[in-house]
Structure formats: C-alpha cells, structure tokens
C-alpha cells in the first residue's frame, strides 16, 4: 500500500484528491511542518529536497507533485497511456502546471526567497500578472480538452488546487484572482466540489465547506500548513 507524506493544504492535497478520486487505497503520514519535520534526516532520506509531498510506493519513494501524478496515472490508468494520441497534450500541460504555474505560485507564497522586503509589492504585482496569464492558458486548454481536465483527474485537480491557493495568498494583500473571470475553471471548481471525496478530504485538512468555489483560510484539525 502507498504512504502519502502530507501536510494540510500543501501540495500533497493534489495527490490526495487524485488518489481518493480514483479509489486507490493509501495511508497518510503527517509531516509536522511546525516541528520542521520536513527537514528531519528521516524525511530527507525519503525526499532530499525536503518538499511535500512524497509518495512511498513498492518501487521506492517518489517526490515532486508532477512526477507522482504521472507515475500514478501510468500505474492506475488515470490518463492517456504512452502510445495514446492524447499523450502529448497530457504531458505538456502537466509540465506547464509543474514548472511554470506551480513554480510561479510558490514565489507568491515565499517572496522572501526571491526579493528583498521592500521589493515584495513589485514582486507580487509581476507574479500575479504572470499567474493570470497562466490561468488564461489553462482555461483555453481545459475548454479544448475537457476529459483531460476533468474533476478528479490529474490535470483537473492540479489546476483547481492552484486556483484555491491563488485566491488565498498572500493573506495580507487584496485578492488578485477572481475565478469568475475563468468560466471553465469555475465550472471545474464546482465539479470538483461535487465529488464525494472532496468533503472528506476537506474535513481531514480543514479546508472549509467550499474549498474551491469559496476558499477560506485552512483550519486543520492536525498538522500545520506552514
């Protein structure tokens, strides 16, 4: 059985929704970020980057959200197989989500890693403008490839979780994402919320009653978001 090393409302949420959406059994192992457990030797032995998530599998630990999604997709047939004519679409948007949309959004979460304090406002303005361009590209891709971007599936879940965090962060700045500007993604948020696994995961991680259509700050029953 798989073990998902997770922290509430961290990128592990993306994996959790896909696993539960497909009915794949797994255990969770809480990584207590408040105790800096992700920097512990035991966690670093599983994932030397110290990032969350890590998925332990019979073939060893896998890190990186995109890598885990792709491995699960190929192992459990959640997306197009290597010879499928839709494979190029699947792969290019998965990498785009990982190295462009998710990477840019991380910069918004952790501005101090990228700019001095007096540059944070400029940084947010630049990065949020970039993110809105990324969401426009994802909106067009989801419209063109609705099956690949369906709720519960890797690309759909990855995209919609990124919209949740975009609506919530930075906590201290005015909201820069209005999901109603992206009707396809807004419908995806509704569809993801209507799935049976979503309220179960939302309760476990303290995400509130409407984690995607009306996101609010998480209030996890265990563990720490930061």
């Amino acid at each position: 059985m798989y073990t998902l090393h997770y922290a509430p409302d961290n990128a592990s949420l993306i994996i959790r929704l896909v696993l539960d959406g497909a009915g794949i059994p797994y255990r969770t192992a809480l990584v207590d970020r408040a105790a800096r457990q992700h920097h512990s030797p035991a966690y670093r032995a599983l994932n030397p980057t110290g990032l969350i998530p890590t998925l332990e599998t019979p073939a060893g630990p896998i890190s990186e959200t995109g890598a885990i999604l792709l491995w699960l997709s190929d192992t459990h047939h959640l997306g197009p197989a290597p010879a499928d004519p839709d494979r190029p679409v699947f792969l290019k948007w998965l990498f785009f989500l990982s190295n462009t949309a998710h990477a840019d959004l991380r910069q918004i979460f952790y501005p101090h890693q990228y700019a001095p304090a007096d540059g944070h406002a400029a940084h947010l303005e630049i990065m949020s403008t970039r993110m809105l361009r990324h969401f426009a590209l994802l909106e067009a891709a989801a419209l063109q490839h609705p099956k690949l971007f369906a709720a519960g599936r890797p690309l759909g879940v990855y995209t919609i979780v990124l919209t949740r965090w975009s609506a919530l962060y930075p906590e201290t700045a005015p909201r820069w994402l209005d999901l109603s500007d992206f009707p396809v993604l807004e419908e995806l948020a509704r569809a993801q919320e209507a799935r049976v696994e979503t309220p179960v995961v939302a309760r476990a991680e303290g995400l509130g009653a409407h984690p995607f259509t009306r996101p609010e700050q998480p209030n996890p029953p265990e563990g720490s978001v930061l």
């Binding site: 896998i62 494979r87 785009f96």
Partner: protein, 221 residues
C-alpha cells in the same frame, strides 16, 4: 513518425536536439528567429500558446515543454530513460521534474533576474538564484553519489544527462561575476556530462549548433 523541432541554436531546443540525434530519429528543424519576434507570431502561438522554445510537432499534434518532450521520446522509443514498467521510473520522474521546475527555473532567474520583481530587485534575485542553483546541483550530486542510477550515468546515455548538461553549460558560461558554478565541485555530475558530450550524437549536435568540442564540461573552449 514525422517530427519537426522548432529550434534556435543553444536555446532549450538544443536539449531536445541532443535526444533526437541520440535516438537517430529523422526530424526537420524549423529555425525560429527569436530576435525577429517569431515566438510572438500567431503561427507560432498555434504550435505553442506559451510562446517559448522548444516546440516539437508530432503526428499526434504539437508538444511543448522540454521535460514533456523528452519524456514522450523516452516512452515512444523505450530508450534514454526508464519506461512506465521499470522499477527506476519513479525516481527518474522525480528528478526529471526537479530538473524542470527547480534547477531550470533557478537558471532562468539567474539569466533573467528582472523577471521575479523588476529591474530594481535584479541584484537580489540573482543572489537568490545563485544560492538555489548551487544547492540544487548539490542535491543531484548527492543522489548520484548515493545511488548511481542507470538513468543519469556515465555508462548509459539518457535524456536527463543531456538536459542537465545544457543547463550546466549555461550556468558555467552566462552568469556575471561573481556568480556561476565550478563543475569540478560536482565530480559525479561532471563524469556523467563528460560521457554524454563525448558521444557521437552529441558531437554532431555540438558541431551543427556551434557549441564547441566540450559543450557541457568546458563550454566556450
């Protein structure tokens, strides 16, 4: 399989070119006039709506994203990396995505330091990128020392060797002083890249793209 690579020498498309040559896959090069604004043209945006290089046109439609193209080539040919059934697949994917979203992204921040927070904060962005680049190459080096994986090895060519090789090339050549890297600080990686750049396929690409005889370990020579 009909393949057209949208290419500019010594841009990220060169990474894909190394893989195509190593696989001996016939392909056409469509040279992109980057300085002439070709990436913003409606024709190019139909191939790659993100407007970046590379793009690869295939019988199953256009692809973009370097990592995605490399992985698609591995899976279609069964070469240059572990396939979905291989026990090494999970680790290979982890490090391929890491290279794409962490090492490659930090390299871009070094080369285009105004991007994160504007010109006024370029110096700070470059200093942050330098620290990230050294730390991330250090993680790759430690992984090589501990695991000697077949998919990033001096003994077997692989897409990840070519991907990291081109990034290292740029990280040696492009950063302004005092930034940049010394490949000798990463001896396991150096051995992997030396083996890759010496392969006949790599020599063909280096000659064609004008990258010099040792494009990864001693670029600019």
């Amino acid at each position: 399989m009909t393949l057209t690579l949208h290419h500019a020498p010594d841009f990220a498309s060169t990474i894909v070119r190394f893989a195509l040559e190593e696989l001996e896959l016939p392909h056409t090069l469509a040279i992109v006039d980057i300085d002439g604004g070709a990436l913003a043209s409606p024709e190019y945006r139909r191939v790659n709506p993100v407007g970046l290089i590379p793009a690869l046109e295939t019988d199953d439609g256009p692809m973009f994203e370097t990592g995605a193209i490399l992985l698609w080539l591995v899976d279609r040919t069964g070469r240059l990396g572990p396939g979905p059934q291989d026990p090494g697949r999970g680790a290979f994917l982890s490090w391929l995505f890491f290279t794409s979203n962490a090492l490659h992204q930090a390299a871009l921040a070094m080369f285009y330091p105004h991007r994160p927070a504007g010109e006024a904060n370029s110096a700070a962005a470059q200093a942050a990128a330098q620290e990230q680049i050294v730390a991330r190459l250090g993680l790759i080096e430690a992984m090589l020392a501990a695991q000697s994986p077949r998919w990033l090895s001096p003994d077997h060519p692989g897409v990840l060797g070519y991907y990291i090789g081109v990034l290292v090339r740029w990280l040696i050549m492009l950063p302004p002083a005092p930034y940049g890297i010394r490949l000798a600080d990463f001896p396991y990686l150096q051995a992997v890249l030396a083996a890759h750049e010496a392969r006949p396929a790599a020599l063909r690409v280096a000659a064609s793209d004008g990258l010099g005889p040792t494009p990864f370990t001693n670029p600019g020579s």
